[in-house]
Structures are given as structure tokens and as C-alpha cells.
Symmetry: C2
Subunit: 475 residues, 2 copies
């Protein structure tokens, strides 16, 4: 029913659009948005937190084009390939907008024969998905990726990726969170011992992936009904995917009579144990859950996978904390670079992607609800005049301030009223006003007004820059 | 001949591509490039210089989607519209990649009914142009735009835009530069008094625009031969477009028997005089030239136009400084927002765009030629061990450092050799090594090695963070 309603609404929306087609529609494309100054101020705060974490971990930064050769993206995203934006064939190469930053990263490594790098990349990606803008799902959205490529001892880079997610989510103060961890090899081993035929691994995996949204019963009937899995196999999976825990669960599964017989599962569980040991040293196991229901959609993962979810606020009086959505995800993909390398040379990789739009949405809503007034400029001083005919003096003074590195503005009026100039400071949060007047010019001083206290002091012109610096130094 | 050679090379290149078509081509799309860590380090330096200038002038920042509705871009770029990238019609809206940041800005203002803003926007734009990558001409490239929108007293915002170009080009130390200034109204007035028919203003203007690349004789024969202008009119134009200078030239033209009779030219010259008075107060007229040959291609300019060029280095012993290319440009466009507003409500705008790719190219080449080693990370300390079996101790220590905000790395090996760890610091410029060993652990200290001097000191574990901060505080 929900699907039908959505379809009808979509049709209605399209009709609405068609009606207006004779006149120009003033809008951004579906699923995209502008960022105004206030949104940008929030965005920069979040980017700064994320970037400084990535830099703290010694990452370099790269950038790649927004579009790639179409064939670079072909065969990397499974079913989701239909969501890729293609460019019109205008002669020359066939191009598509990037769908994520991981595939361009792998292409970059193969093309430049890089076998060893730790890099981050913050950029927009594009998906022709059904937008849900209030919940932060867009067709154009930012990803913030951190990846470690190279042949290293097991689980050390993997543990660092989880540490990074933990640092960023703690730093941003989004409320309580949980990082679920699993391993593709454990999933595959589990499918094997439950009697899932090899050919059905992928499709059964994508059923399991739905467990965070729909109850087990529905997933089971999809497996048995739509996908033709035997009820016994489904029930076997059903028992495993309910499990989540920490080291003790890993130990128990290592002793599990069925799983312990499977080579892949054993490998995965052994590495999971190592991972948890490292996470214990990092002191972050409290927010990490080994969860056998975590599957993740993308085809290219080969080992550890993980996903961070925000938990509902405790003050909402729910009995059990419920997840309100994924804000970060990632995993190990040891085969992707090899798909691009002419000689199939492999470069093992593990990485994490921070889902920034959802975080923006939360912070934006929180800021709207709060009283906090966010400044959208960093201007330290407004150059103002108390009398008429002082435009030239204002221009001279502001030029001096700019050249000294002071952030300064003035009104673009020949003869602005002092009251309007002061009001502008109130509106925009400028803390100081440098007022020039006939008398001040004669005396070689500038009247400096502190907006918050309305205090005014005369400052000698040659000391003005220093005085402004001191008075705005806390920012 | 040059054209023919270029054509042949292009054909050869295409043949080469065709030959390889059966196998996968590992490349970025034509006219685009990846930015590796070194290029990104340069890019961030330049962006920081530009952003801090924009912020110094009190600008807010916005962002818009990388694609717009196709019709948003239609009819804004004249002949250059053929260079717009369209997206494939995959159902839904028809979309195009943005061609510049100015038209999306105007769309943003009209859509949000903003009549007053000072904003900057740094983002990539797209043109299906013939790339010349070594000279910094790409199909995907950055623009850094600063614009002032609003109804203000004449020439105050216009003067600030020129001050900004002056500040940025001085700050980046690219060598000597010149900012050419003209006004569309002066050009149109000049065409009128020379007897150019109204219908030919636009096309004659685009001929004049070529004067920075080809000599007057060629431009003249294009006007007379291809565009059917009378020889007398062409010669009239020829006399004017040779003129360049400062206030004295403006005064002279205000007395010019022909120009002074034309309303548009008189208005433009009056404003130009005012502009030069303001620029004199800013102390920057030394690098500004009122130049009647400056025309600029885009259709939407309505008043002042300007373009900054780098001058050839003096040490290359040329008699006259020659321009090696435009690095910034802009002007006044009072009609563009009105094209989007349903009621045609106008918002006067003036702005400047910094052509960053050319600046990158220059700085990249300069850096390659120099001995300077550019760091691509900010890592302060490498956490190392002198003996085997200390992975866990390294993990514990690095976690403490990260949590204290120290930028720290370690090698992802269980038992790395000390020599390899020290070599890593040499290679990447990490200034400090924190070495854990059996003895140090017993004594509650960490051995801190200063890479540059090879000096080593024992630091108590609880003082390590502080010690690292002090020793790396200059960065």
C-alpha cells in the first residue's frame, strides 16, 4: 500500500510539474538543495571535526573528477547500478557521475600503481535514488571517506577505522551511538553451514541486510517464498542472525560445532577476535557490537564490515534504545583495485565513509530548536561614520585594516545613518565598530565601540589594529 | 598550420584510443585530472589564501548543486552554450552541469528572494572546451567567486572587488600583475559614436575581445571582412581601443568631442572616474589600467568589467612586460537575477572570479623546479618500538595520543624494524618519534627522538603530550 501511495504521489507531483511547464520553474533539481550561509556554517563545523580527525590519523588528501568513464563504474555496484547518473553522449567519451568515492579511489590506485597510501577524500557523490530530504537522503550528497590501502598485518588498519568512527561520533556530540561489526567471511561461512547453495549467497545476503528495517519473519518469508530457500536453511540463519555481543560471543562461535568446521567462518572469527583485542586496547569496545545480522549491500566487501547507528535519546522514554539510522559505514575490500589493474595486481584496502547529510540534518534541526544564533561571517569590525561626507575616510580606514589582516566591513552607502550601521552589527554579530568623525580625524584617533556593552573608547589610529586584535582574540 | 597539426594529433590520439577499445582504458575523462596528495597540498594553500581574503571582506559562503535544470542555464552564455555538459535523459528533469558559479548564484538569489548579500563560492564548473592541461585549461576546473548583490551607492562594491583581486594576487606572490578595467557602457557608447549599427554591437564586441591575442590588423579585417563593418567605423574603433591609462585618460575622454555626446559612454566614464578615485584611496591604482580594448566574452555584463593578467617576469629580458594570461576576471551584471525572477525584479550584482587552475599550474611548476619538499600530512609523531612484541603497547600509546589531539601514526606491522620506522619519518617529514621499549615501560617513560637532530630524551609518560605539543608548536 505504501508503495502504491508513493507511486500516486509521484504521479501527482509529475502532473503538477507538467502543468507548470509552459513557464520557467525556479528550483534546484529533484533531490538536491542549496546550502545557504547558515547551513554552510554548520557544514564547515562538521567538516572541520571530521577533517581534523582524519589528519590526526596521518591521512593525506586526494581529489578525483566528479565524473568517470562510464566503464570505470560498470560492474561495481550490483543492483544499484541503475541509480548511476549518466552524462549525455555529446561526442567523445561516455561518462557517468561518481556513485561513491571508493571506486574512484581504487581506479586512482591502479592507474598510478600506488600500493600503499592512507588518504581521505571529502566530496559529493550522485545517486538517482528516491530522495527523502527531511531525513537527509539526497541525490547529491557528501561523503567523507578515509581509507588505508596496503599489505599489512591483520586487523591493525581495520581497528583504526573503527577508532576513527568512534572519535568522530563522540566529537560531534550527536548522542549515543553503536557501531555494529561483522565479517563477510563469517556471513558466507554461516550461509554455507546452514545449507544455502553458493549461487544464492549474494541474494540471501541482501535479504539479511534488511533486518535493521523489517522483522525476521518478513525476511524469512522473503528467503523462503521469493528466493526459494529451504525452510530449514532459513531457520538456521534465523538463529545466527539474532546473535550480537562481544569477545565472549566470538569465543562461543569459535566453538560452535557447525561454524568451527567452516574454513571461511573460522578465518573471519579469528580475525574478529584479534580486532576486538585491538579495540579493547583502544578502550572503545563499549560502543561496539559484533552483530551477525549486519550484511551491508555493496558487492565489493571481502572481510570486516561495519556500520554506525545513532541510538534514540534516552529522554524519549523508550524501553530499549532504538536505532534512528546509519551515520557511518565501511569495511574491507581487498579485490576492488585488482579489478582495475591490467595485471590484476591486488591492493588490500579497508575504509570508512561518514554519512554527513544525516548528521547535517540532525545538527540543523537541533540548531533551529535552540536559541543559539550562529554567525555566518567572521567580521571583527564595522567601519562606520557618525557624520555625512566621510565615505572617503571610511574607505581609507577600511583599506588600512584589510591590509593589516583585520576582517572588516562597511556599508556601501555614501552617507549611512549611524543607527543603521549599529543595527547591522547587532544583526550580524559584528563585535566592534570603528567610528570616524570630524573631531576624531583632527585628533588622530578612532572611536571604537564595543557592540555588546555599548562602551566607547578613543584609540589612537596607529594602535587601532592592535586594539582590535586584542579585543577579538578569543575568536 | 598550427590548427592543422592540432587536428592531426587529435585524430591520431583518437585512433590510439580506438585501438585500445577492446580492453579497459584506465584513465580519467578527457580534460580532467586527479589531484594527488602533493597537488592537494598546493591547492589547499591557494584556497586558504583566497578564502581568508574573502572572509576578511566579510563574505558569507554558499553552495549550490553541481547540476542545474537545463533551462536555468539556457540563454545565459551566448555562443558558449555549446560547451555545456548535459546529463542523459534517464526520466525526470533535464539537467546540465553548471558552466560557472554566477548563473547558479543569480538563480539562488531569485529563488530565495534575496536582494542583499555578499557571498563567496568555491566549487568546480564544467566546460566541454578544448583542454590545454599544461596551461591549466581543463574541462573540470575550480572557480573561486566573490560577489556583492544589492542596491548600493555607485562603484563602492565595484572598487572592493578590485581591491580583493589586488590582495589575492599580491598575497600569492605570483609575480607582477596588471588589472585591466573597462565598462560595457563605454564600449557600447564607443561603438555607437563610431557608427556601428546596434545589431552588430555584440559581434563587434567579441571581435574586440580578441585583441589580447591577435594584432589590431587581424581584428580589423575580421570586422570589415567577416562582419561587414564599414572601414571608417572599424578605424574609429581602432583609435579608441589603443588607449589605456588612468585618471588623466578618463578626463580626456570625458572631453572627447564624440564620446562626450553619447549618454551611455558619459555615464560609464563618470563611474569610471569615481572608481579610480576610490582605488586611489585604496592605494592600488599602480596596478590598474583603464583599457578600452578590454571587452570580455560573457553576455550578462552591464557595467564595469575587469580582468587581471600576470606579466612576464622581468628577468626574462623582454623590452615590454607581456601578459601571460588571465588569472581573474569579473564585472557588473545588473540584469541577470531579473531573468530568473517571476516579476523581473532586478538585483544589481558585481563580482569577481579567481581562475585558480592557472595559478595552480604556475605554483606546481615552481615547486617542482625548487628544492622545497612539501609535506602532505601534518603528523607530529610516529609511535615506534625498538623491540619485538610491543604492538599492543604501541596501540595503547597511540590511542592516548589521538585522544589528546596529537597527530600520530604508527606502522601497521606487528614487529617493524626500528630502522624502517625512522626511515618512514625521514620520508614523510614526521618531526618526532615516540619509542616504547621494555625498559621504558618499566620506568614509566617514553623515549622521544627528534628526527632532525637525532637527539633522544626520556619523557615521563604523563608529560608526553605536553612535550610533543611544545616541540611541534611552531607548526
Amino acid at each position: 500500500i505504501a508503495k502504491e501511495v508513493a507511486k500516486l504521489l509521484e504521479m501527482k507531483a509529475q502532473l503538477g510539474e507538467d502543468e507548470g511547464k509552459h513557464k520557467f520553474v525556479l528550483k534546484t533539481p529533484k533531490g538536491t538543495r542549496d546550502y545557504g550561509p547558515k547551513q554552510m556554517a554548520i557544514r564547515e563545523r562538521v567538516f572541520n571535526a571530521i577533517t581534523s580527525c582524519f589528519k590526526r590519523h596521518g591521512a593525506e588528501v586526494i581529489d578525483t573528477p566528479v565524473f568517470e568513464l562510464k566503464e570505470t563504474l560498470t560492474g561495481k555496484y550490483g543492483e544499484d547500478s541503475k541509480l548511476i547518473y549518466d552524462l549525455k553522449d555529446q561526442g567523445g567519451e561516455l561518462l557517468s557521475l561518481r556513485y561513491d568515492l571508493t571506486v574512484p579511489f581504487a581506479r586512482y590506485l591502479a592507474m598510478n600503481k600506488i600500493s600503499n597510501i592512507k588518504r581521505y577524500h571529502i566530496a559529493k557523490v550522485y545517486r538517482r535514488d528516491n530522495p527523502a530530504m527531511t531525513r537527509g537522503r539526497y541525490r547529491e550528497f557528501y561523503q567523507c571517506d578515509f581509507d588505508i590501502a596496503g599489505q599489512f598485518d591483520p586487523m591493525i588498519p581495520d581497528a583504526e577505522c573503527l577508532k576513527i568512527v568512534h572519535e568522530i561520533l563522540s566529537d560531534l556530540q550527536l548522542g549515543d551511538f553503536l557501531i555494529k561489526v561483522n565479517d563477510r567471511r563469517i556471513l558466507d561461512g554461516m550461509f554455507a553451514v546452514c545449507g544455502v547453495p553458493d549461487s544464492k549467497f549474494r541474494t540471501i545476503c541482501s535479504s539479511v541486510d534488511k533486518l535493521d528495517k523489517v522483522p525476521w519473519e518478513d525476511v524469512r518469508s522473503e528467503m523462503v517464498g521469493e528466493k526459494g530457500l529451504s525452510p530449514e536453511a532459513a531457520d538456521g540463519i534465523g538463529e545466527y542472525v539474532q546473535l550480537h555481543g562481544g569477545l565472549e560471543l566470538i569465543e562461543r562461535l569459535l566453538q560452535d560445532p557447525k561454524l568451527s568446521q567452516n574454513k571461511l567462518a573460522k578465518e573471519g572469527l579469528g580475525d574478529m577476535k584479534l580486532l576486538f583485542e585491538y579495540l579493547t586496547l583502544f578502550g572503545i569496545t563499549g560502543k561496539i557490537s559484533f552483530d551477525l545480522s549486519l550484511a551491508r549491500g555493496l558487492d565489493y566487501y571481502t572481510g570486516v564490515i561495519f556500520e554506525a547507528v545513532l541510538l534514540q535519546q534516552e529522554n524519549e522514554h523508550v524501553e530499549e534504545p532504538l536505532s534512528v539510522g546509519s551515520v557511518a559505514g565501511g569495511g574491507r575490500y581487498d579485490g576492488l583495485v585488482g579489478m582495475f589493474d591490467p595485471k590484476g595486481r591486488k591492493v588490500p584496502c579497508v575504509g570508512v565513509s561518514i554519512g554527513i547529510e544525516r548528521i547535517f540534518s540532525i545538527l540543523e534541526q537541533r540548531l533551529e530548536a535552540s536559541e543559539e544564533k550562529i554567525r555566518t561571517t567572521e567580521t571583527q569590525v564595522l567601519v562606520a561614520s557618525a557624520q555625512k561626507k566621510l565615505l572617503e575616510e571610511r574607505l581609507k580606514l577600511i583599506s588600512e585594516l584589510w591590509d593589516a589582516g583585520i576582517k572588516a566591513e562597511m556599508l556601501y552607502k555614501k552617507n549611512p545613518k549611524l543607527l543603521n550601521q549599529l543595527q547591522y552589527c547587532e544583526d550580524t554579530g559584528i563585535p566592534l565598530v570603528a567610528i570616524v568623525g570630524e573631531q576624531e580625524l583632527k585628533d588622530g584617533v578612532v572611536r571604537l565601540r564595543i557592540v555588546a556593552t555599548r562602551e566607547e573608547v578613543n584609540v589612537r589610529r596607529e594602535s587601532l589594529v592592535e586594539e582590535i586584535r586584542i579585543r577579538t582574540s578569543q575568536r
